[in-house]
Amino acid sequence: MADSFLGFRRAGGNVGVRNHVLVLGINGLAGAATRRIGSAVCGTVTVATPYGRGQVGPDAEIHRRQLIGLGRNPNVGAALIVGVDRKALDAIAGEVAKGGTLVETVALDDVHEDALALTDIGLKKAAQLVRHISNQRREACPVSALRVGVECGHSDATSGLAANPLVGKVADRIVDGGGTVIIGETLEWLGAEHLLARRAATPAVARALTEAVARREAYPASLGIDLLGNNPGEENIRGGLSTIEEKSLGAVAKGGSRPLIGVLEHAQAPTGTGLHVMDGPGYSPESITGFVAAGAQLVFFTTGPGNSYCSALAPTIKVSAHPQTPGRLPEQIDFDGSAILTGGEAADATAARLYAQALAVASGTATWGEILGEGDEVFVRVGPSL
């Protein structure tokens, strides 16, 4: 058998690397009750959107896509979906269930707006779900079942020199094994888009990519805002990055070198395998939620000086190649790639170690972020509430 890991096979044919019960709040009016249910039941992960009403057009659509996508993530064995009105709740729950997730629901409508009664029903349902899915066992699954997001945050010049190329080598290996890799942060293709476009599988993909960068570049300019002073940010500049082009040229290396199969919208699941780009924000919490809502079970997150943010649903492997950072943050950085820069290890050998660690994490080895509860999911909005 080719390279494999131990995962949870789902009804929809996907494979989870974790077996979470997700307590998913789909409306900010029930956010506190959602969190109360999640905190009362061990073995659950809570994601509660602060939004969910008064959204229209593309803003309503992107919010809905993020909620459904998180519910369908293969790491979710079962979901308790908490809402306000039955109609909106059933619409979301129905779509989540279509992805193969076991779904239960509870609505404030059902309990005459009594948030404590909602909590009582919700926590019993969540407890039942935890017990039920604990019967599932891990099985050997091929690398082709992996969908991986690649992200960088608080980059410095060591990110572009070593950590991102290192993740790129692992991304190539996952793509070559039949898996899927998603790279986002449209603004950080700026200055490197010609290199990405050259790798596009079709002219249409190259055009979509170039247009996505142009839209993202035009937006701050249309508001009279200069990108200088915003990106690269303070941490980037301290770390030796001078311009967005320099940051981008280093950032795109984490996507590896394989052909670019498609351009995804934020939180849009790819229909095939291989390397995809997601047209989305550069802010890591939003970007990573886009990957996870697109079905990524695992995330690689490179950093120079450190960055504790993780996905709540997808184990997030922190990689730094800064010679001091892994020693300074031993309970944050999962993988030390600095030996590439200090001359102690060939890049291919370091990449082989990272690949092996990724398969171990996919099989159940805990990341520091999971152990310390650093995970969250953050929703993108693209328009004002009515």
Partner: protein, 86 residues
């Protein structure tokens, strides 16, 4: 460390002192400023307004004339992209 043969800058793999003479690809170069780790320095003179290359690609342009051995950073190079005036 020079990342690409076309590059105008190299990257310090350790903090380098001003006045230190180092060898990059077999050529001696005396630094005109302290270079923090992972920061860039010029391998040859770069005229104001000329593109500055790293990874073999333009990362911006020189705001002022840059001498060989100068620290190259936000004080003397600037992005060509996503500018208000662009």
């Amino acid at each position: 460390m020079r990342l690409h043969p076309d590059d105008d800058v190299a990257v310090a793999l350790r903090p380098l002192a001003s006045g230190e003479t180092i060898s990059v690809d077999g050529r001696a170069l005396t630094l005109r400023a302290a270079i923090p780790m992972a920061h860039k320095f010029a391998l040859h003179p770069i005229a104001a307004g000329m593109p500055v290359r790293k990874y073999g690609e333009a990362i911006g342009e020189a705001r002022t004339a840059i001498a060989a051995g100068d620290h190259v950073h936000v004080h003397n190079i600037v992005s060509r992209r996503a500018r208000k005036s662009a």
